[in-house]
Symmetry: C2
């Protein structure tokens, strides 16, 4: 059985890889046309997609799925229109393929060009969010890649219905329909099979929770772009404008709590803790944020009359490394910039880190010495986002250093090749 | 015991990672000075290094090591001077760190800069070639990275002596000596330990044979830059200038056989096989190249009076995927450009691939449609090399698509970060 699944996934992947070839050297216009046809196909097949989604929703309800997950799974006419409009926006993106990155004459007059090309076959593994199917397929086709998709099992019928509509459109645009391939089994073995296909699948991008991402990082032989986990800090320096600091912390912690660029930990210079923390902790507590404090922070909470075990708890060593994704924050006093930087470099996840300080030298040292994809002076970590950074359609936020770091978009789905044109040259 | 080795390697790596911090934001001049001091240290410590090497050589001879390996292991005054001169050349390389890759104003007047930064801690695993120690440490320090090195066990004493001299020089230049760290045990477990240190080691670069590289690709949790294997083809199109084709094939096959950019397989359009192959196969055979031929090629060999089993053998399916690294070549007739491209995309290793053709359209299709790091029209595959491509000091030739593809150099040891400077901005 496991063998059957493996053979099935490998067969799909080989066909998808073959389908990537003509896409790889298709013109910009041809790929734009295909993506627009994909948008149209979603609209035309809306009722079929909604039917499949209704079945997924019914099964999910029966299985006792939480309201939050059900909401992510639900499709409506409006949401399908949103997916279609998203595809049309992708069609307008500038083409990242075929750019001449370098051009020079080398040994014996050989003409060398370094040219951007698609990666080939992109695998995306995601959870029960049907809209990712259109999003992922769209960005792949736009950039000249084929894709093999693996959606969450709760959303299986919806994802398959969407993928079939998109594949039809790709085929009608003159490309092989296997360029949009979806794995049509909910067997867990299929993900393992996909991760073993090094040499066929060119990159694996997991989009989902920490469990999924860690499984891919640990098991995959296919290169992975690791996304997601953000244990983001805000460090309040002795020179900080405290009102600014409170505004930034409140925004980064509470504006949206379930996202990877939300603040999870507050560091404060010990010299200003007694002045800064009372108002800050009061404001956090009033907003319903549970405080995991060090000794000083817990002392301030006490003085504010907050109830231990309800409004605050003593932080443990484990708290410094936690991504709460909830109305919780850890708070720690540090001796100054050096300790703050060392703490962040030790416990951070290289996602988004901020300093609040009026001293420009402190800001510059922080920006330079903190090892993270996005480092801020006097702004909320919540800005880490492909659209905010002006990158176009974000695929994810990479917390690794190779290939793509921080928010990444279409360009991360390209590589390059060297083209050398000669007249018979040989190496002496 | 295994636990002890793991703890030892992790402790070394953590110290090296800490040492990478000050290097990461040191000035260009400070890093140049350190690399020059490393060169001087090799010269000053030459006799100590030669003593260590003499012990390695004696042990290797006793163990019955082949002459080829012994030659790679041997150090002489001249070779040490070569290593020192190599380091001085590295010091002169343009700085790949601190380049502003993008700069723009985003939401609410936030100032965003994308800046190149060092990777952090680079691990290099290599075989019994002591010179790689200086080479690897030099390029890492030059680019602001710390390194943790693991040399082949036959060269252990030589590698340690070199690394200690380099670490002394780094320390004398004002950086932590752990920035050049060598693993001082020959226990195989140490490589496994190194490969598990994701989050501490930022990249692992294996430099050596296919066995070492495949082990790293399969086992490493640390991101790997895969190098090395080259099953390179030369495709002779019907429109080819046959004299040119023969010259290119002879160069690519015989000029140096043990290298990854050497030709391993010859594809010939069937329509010209009877005209082209007799002279070509005669010339290859005269040079001592064993021919693994398809039916047509074996037929030509017969007609030339070559002896089967000595000068030629029938090719098996396995031959199409082999990297001989020897005076052997596989020869196959194809029906034309389509089959040639499909064959290469199936059996090649995405290293270096060449077409010989006078028809410019055939050349352009080949360059576009073959999926390899370096694609040639009318030139020998032997040009695939960092120095030939004008990249400065080559680290290796990547056969993967992410981060670095083809010959790669200093720039591949950098990543980037986004620096965002604000005045209190929060996300609405």
């Amino acid at each position: 059985m496991a063998q059957d699944i493996r053979a099935y996934v490998e067969e799909l992947a080989r066909a998808a890889k073959e389908a990537s070839r003509p896409l790889g050297f298709a013109s910009d216009e041809a790929r734009q046309t295909a993506v627009r046809a994909m948008a149209a196909a979603l609209r035309e097949n809306a009722s079929r997609i909604l039917d499949a989604n209704a079945q997924d929703m019914a099964a999910a309800r029966k299985a006792g799925t939480t309201e939050g997950l059900l909401d992510r799974l639900l499709l409506t006419d409006e949401r399908i229109e949103g997916m279609a409009a998203g595809l049309e926006k992708l069609a307008e993106l500038p083409d990242p393929v075929g750019r001449v990155l370098e051009h020079r004459t080398i040994d014996q007059g050989l003409d060398l060009q370094k040219v951007s090309v698609p990666l080939g076959l992109v695998a995306m593994v995601y959870e029960a969010r049907p809209n990712v199917t259109a999003d992922a397929a769209g960005i792949c086709i736009r950039t000249g890649n084929a894709c093999i998709l693996r959606g969450g099992s709760l959303a299986q019928r919806s994802c398959v219905a969407i993928a079939h509509a998109l594949a039809d459109a790709v085929e009608a645009s003159g490309f092989p329909r296997d360029a949009v391939t979806i794995i049509e089994t909910t067997d867990r073995e299929a993900t393992g099979a996909l991760m073993s296909l090094r040499g066929i699948v060119d990159v694996l991008i997991p989009r989902g929770g920490a469990g999924l991402i860690q499984r891919c990082v640990r098991e995959s032989l296919v290169p992975v772009i690791e996304t997601g986990t953000g244990n983001c800090h805000i460090y309040v320096h002795a020179s900080a404008d405290f009102a600014k600091a409170r505004r930034i912390v409140m925004n980064a912690k509470t504006q949206r709590v379930g996202v990877c660029n939300a603040c999870e930990s507050l560091l404060v210079d010990a010299t200003v803790a007694e002045v800064f923390l009372p108002d800050m902790l009061r404001e956090l507590s009033d907003a319903g944020v549970l405080i995991h404090g060090d000794e000083t922070a817990c002392g301030v909470c006490h003085e504010l009359g907050l109830v231990q075990g309800e409004a605050f708890v003593p932080a443990t060593e484990e708290d410094w490394g936690r991504e709460y994704l909830a109305m919780e924050i850890s708070v720690k006093c540090v001796s100054g910039l050096d300790e703050a930087i060392a703490h962040i470099n030790r416990y951070g996840t290289m996602h988004s880190e901020a300093i609040v300080a009026e001293d420009p030298q402190a800001c510059e040292r922080f920006l330079r010495e903190v090892d993270a994809s996005s480092v801020y002076a006097n702004a909320s970590t919540r800005f880490t986002d492909g659209a905010e950074f002006g990158l176009g359609a974000e695929i994810g936020i990479s917390t690794q250093k190779l290939h793509a770091r921080g928010p990444f978009a279409a360009e991360a789905l390209t590589t390059y090749k060297y083209e050398i044109r000669g007249t018979g040259q040989v190496r002496p």
